[in-house]
């Protein structure tokens, strides 16, 4: 019985996928959402918007500032949990 249900739900999900796949952007088209030209903004206006000549740093610390804050928090949390796990400071 479970087998029949799973086959039916698989067919339903497959039909949804096939229906949606028709709406997908054409492969390799320059109008794809992945080519949404955000890099033009970065290369042309990053200096006047952030004041930093290095585009990588401008993206890392300004446009993606929350992301970098999260990365630093991850490293901080790793160090803190290391201290909790191996709390003995003297050699042992």
């Amino acid at each position: 019985m479970i087998r029949i249900y799973s086959i039916i739900s698989l067919i339903l999900i497959g039909m949804i996928f096939i229906y949606v796949a028709d709406e997908m952007p054409a492969f390799g088209s320059p109008d794809n959402p992945i080519n949404n030209r955000v890099y033009d903004r970065y290369t042309e206006r990053s200096f006047e918007e952030t004041g930093v000549p290095n585009i990588v740093t401008a993206i890392l610390a300004d446009y993606r500032g929350y992301d970098t804050l999260g990365e630093t928090t991850v490293i901080f949390t790793a160090g803190m949990s290391l201290m909790l796990l191996f709390s003995r400071w003297k050699n042992g």
């Binding site: 952030t50 970098t68 630093t72």
Partner: protein, 150 residues
């Protein structure tokens, strides 16, 4: 000689000379992260490796005497505090969180933004450096270091 210390005078002298240069290069990598390849993460790791070299050559006891545990804890928290504190300062002066141009400094918006990004990189560097040192201190023991002299 304490346990786990390298006795070769060549290695001791060379690392005594080279450790400050490693640290200067790490600082350069952090400070010049705005204008050239580099940044807080990379510079922090370079600063951490200088302490790792010190630990390998001069022993764990000496390194722990120079860098106490509380200092690592304070630095680890300080870096993150600088980063998030700049974000909170921006909020305090009427901007969004991490919107750098709102600080009330007598500079143009460009320069305030660049200065904030520099402070953010320094904060990242401090945190990464402390965590690297902490990782090495906890993963090495003096008994493991005996093999180097043998």
């Amino acid at each position: 000689m304490a346990n786990g210390e390298i006795t070769s005078i060549v290695i001791r002298t060379v690392s005594r000379i080279i450790i400050p240069f490693i640290q200067i290069f790490g600082l350069y990598t952090i400070i010049h992260g705005e204008a050239s390849p580099g940044g807080g993460f990379q510079g922090g790791v370079i600063l951490g490796t200088s302490i790792i070299l010190l630990t390998i050559v001069f022993g764990l006891e000496e390194a722990k005497r120079r860098i106490p545990r509380g200092l690592i804890l304070v630095f680890m928290s300080l870096g993150l505090l600088i980063y998030s504190g700049i974000g909170l300062l921006d909020m305090l002066f009427g901007g969004k969180y991490l919107e750098y141009t709102r600080l009330p400094l007598p500079l143009s918006g460009h320069e305030i933004s660049a200065l904030s990004i520099l402070c953010v990189e320094i904060g990242i560097g401090i945190t990464v450096m402390s965590v690297i040192i902490l990782l090495f201190f906890y993963s090495v023991r003096d008994e493991d270091a005996h093999g180097i002299n043998a």
